[in-house]
Symmetry: C2
Subunit: 452 residues, 2 copies
């Protein structure tokens, strides 16, 4: 809510980027967010048969990250983290029982959380959310109540029509109205793209914030006629290639409107590949495990930033970054003060975009409300591990001392080096103590069920 | 030997490429060959912390292959395949007992095999082998006896100084003389590069064939002072980054000499990463297993072809290709007839370089002399599997019916689909029957030991 922002901003004035930005029109911001896309699923991240020429070009014209993390290992908390710049544990948007929101959930993103859209509206930004929301489907939680002028999309995951649970068919919404139920999923990517391009064309006179959380490649997979059977990598490949096409359309619209040099576009995904779906799920490439786990494959994502004239073309960035940084970066370049009444975990990526160092000192890997692992520099300590698939998926395993991996040397988390680095373990233990000491957990939002 | 070539060529006249090439100076050919580099080890193939800006640029200016195979799962047979265009089983350059040549081996590449260097010499090519040979260290097997005007390098692998076996220290040779023993391995990549650049400068008036089989990243790893400790990915990363630097130097020399548009450069590796070496070995990315196995990780390689003006910049090629194609392609563009008195397995890659289809219909996966698997189109049937590391590495496992994977959809070989594709199994069985029916095994070269 805007009220909160004004209060939150009272004490802080954003520096550096905002000085000049306040005089000119601040840049547009576009966030393209895939669902369950794995680290290894794009051609420019090494996939051998999925063709992603538009994302490859985006990377060639921009910056490709290799150590970019989502805020969580599953959908709802990940999205909360991105839009608020805060670990989902702080907003209560994570849970050990119900890992995400369901159609019978009565909770959602709390009103007192500040989303990027809310923060930017005060600067005159036009704001749109086009795609899968998954931060509460009741009216009071919809995108339109969280700073978005415009909403078009589905309120939660495309598989959430469990008849035993009493789920209704998955609806498609425009604003706060259901316009189609069940939604025709085959044309969703096409329709999101059309809406996104239209929004860009309509909003070009103002600065705008466009958030496109795609429904796919989350299972069940659907693809338009145009893409069906066209990839070598099966239906999953078709779906990712249609997503790639969508990215190409959106970037081309920006070019056509002459907005390239004043628009930051970031493409990434909410969590790793859904490995239990077998050949319907994606690949984490060389990383271990996938969606739902706090192994690298669950939370390290493909991520590409594009801003011609500001980001050097063809950069490969090995700096630590997270989706929560999108919040802080967006506010900074828009000249909006970072809220000072709450902990913001995201860092400003502008120095990184300019080839400098990341301000991100540690990455926290939560599974629900449990802190499972912490990364500091190249080292990641796992206190608890739990695979998201296969025989190990049923039971968490605690580690004391923690497992320790040097991710720079061993990105696949194969060789425990805890014995060789007692000092690192000490340092990480201190980091955890500090973190947990200052942590204020938000009121849990995911476990309440409608009518119960 | 040249005599063999003339005889072999009598009946065949190379077509298409040679017509015009014979009038002008034919193009130069440079083959840069890494040792034990994995599919996932380059930045442009998705490695998160190894920086390979020169290879990335080579790919951006050329063609990056995603389905490119070495001729074998280990070193000696792989090199025999590349230089002769023939499966190593045909030249006798593979074995089940001793998988490669050792310093006490008395065999080597037979005199009646035709190497690329021999074939091209007849067209006036200057030829050089700079790096690790590993096709016989006795004088009669050295590069200088197989068509290379110039040789500088080590005769076999850099770890082959086993005192119990009575190995001498690893020598460095120039021509047929040992010039340093033990070789200082820390400067090898630098020295290979210097020699390669010098050869290019000296040979620029003629067409030339330059073969640079690097010693690294084969274990033990050595790197020059300049690169030591500079990568984020440990010593392995340092070594690969020095290799990348070397590629950059060689490409720059070609640019400086104005040879870019008349030089085909191919970069690839002899086999997959050496996984038993743990963090000293590389990564096969999303592929299964590594060096020594016939799972994809053992034989699918990073491969980049560069030929400005002929190959479209930034191409990603999903066509099937093998290192044996380098033989046939080289002869074709040099206007040399393909030998007709023997089976040549390599195909001409020129159509592929121009964006067309591969002529490669099947890939044979031998482990020593055993045919373990066959790939036809997207399908790979495993008759026998054996991991190269871990508990499964000690015993081959036979499969009847074979395991069948659709590599386009499932590059990681996770989901056996044999039951769904009986026709594919029949077709592959027919392919195997045809192949084994025409197969003439060469006299075994790898098992004889000096003085025994």
């Amino acid at each position: 809510m805007l009220m909160h922002i004004l209060a939150a901003a009272a004490l802080t004035v954003a520096q550096s980027e905002s000085g000049s930005a306040q005089k000119e029109t601040p840049p547009n911001i576009v966030v393209l967010f895939a669902d369950d896309l794995g680290y290894g699923d794009l051609s420019c991240y090494g996939h051998p048969t999925i063709r992603t020429p538009h994302l490859d070009r985006m990377a060639a014209e921009g910056m490709r990250f290799t150590q970019f993390y989502s805020a969580a290992e599953v959908c709802t908390p990940s999205r909360a983290g991105l839009l608020t710049g805060r670990l989902p544990i702080r907003s209560g948007m994570c849970s050990d029982r119900r890992r995400v929101l369901f159609p019978d959930s009565s909770g959602g993103l709390p009103d007192d959380e500040i989303t990027i859209a809310e923060a930017l509206k005060g600067k005159g930004y036009a704001t749109a959310c086009i795609g899968k929301w998954h931060l509460g489907h009741l009216p009071q939680y919809l995108p339109t109540r969280h700073g978005f002028d415009f909403y078009f999309g589905v309120p939660y995951s495309n598989d959430m029509h469990n008849k035993q649970r009493g789920d209704p068919p998955v609806p498609l919404m425009r604003g706060e109205e259901t316009i189609e139920q069940p939604v025709d999923q085959t044309t969703l990517t096409q329709r999101y793209t059309t809406e996104a391009v239209r929004f860009i064309r309509q909003s070009k006179a103002r600065p705008f914030f466009l958030y496109v959380p795609h429904t796919f490649p989350h299972v069940p997979l659907f693809v338009s006629e145009k893409f069906r059977g066209t990839s070598r990598a099966g239906l999953y490949g078709d779906v990712v290639e249609e997503l790639d096409w969508s990215v190409g359309q959106i970037l081309q619209a920006l070019r056509d409107e002459g907005l390239s040099e004043r628009t930051l576009v970031i493409f990434t995904s909410d969590n790793g590949p859904w490995l239990t779906q077998k050949d319907r799920g994606g690949s984490a490439g060389l990383l271990r495990d996938g969606k739902g786990s706090t192994w690298e494959g669950g939370m390290r994502e493909p991520a590409i930033a594009w801003w011609p004239g500001t980001i050097k073309p063809g950069s490969v960035c090995q700096e630590l970054a997270t989706t929560m940084d999108i919040f802080t970066t967006s506010l900074t370049i828009a000249g909006v003060p970072i809220p000072s009444d709450r902990t913001i975990d995201g860092k400003n990526l502008m120095p990184v975009f300019r080839g400098g160092k990341s301000e991100c000192e540690a990455v926290y890997f939560y599974r629900g409300t449990r802190l499972m692992a912490v990364r500091k520099g190249p080292f990641k300590a796992h206190f608890i591990t739990q695979s998201a698939y296969g025989p190990d998926s049923q039971r968490p395993e605690s580690h004391d001392p923690p497992l320790l991996f040097n991710l720079d040397v061993d990105p696949a988390e194969r060789f425990d080096v805890a014995k060789n680095h007692p000092n690192v373990l000490t340092e990480i233990a201190r980091e955890v103590e500090r973190h947990l000491g200052e942590l204020k957990q938000g009121k849990p939002q995911l476990d309440e069920i409608l009518g119960k």
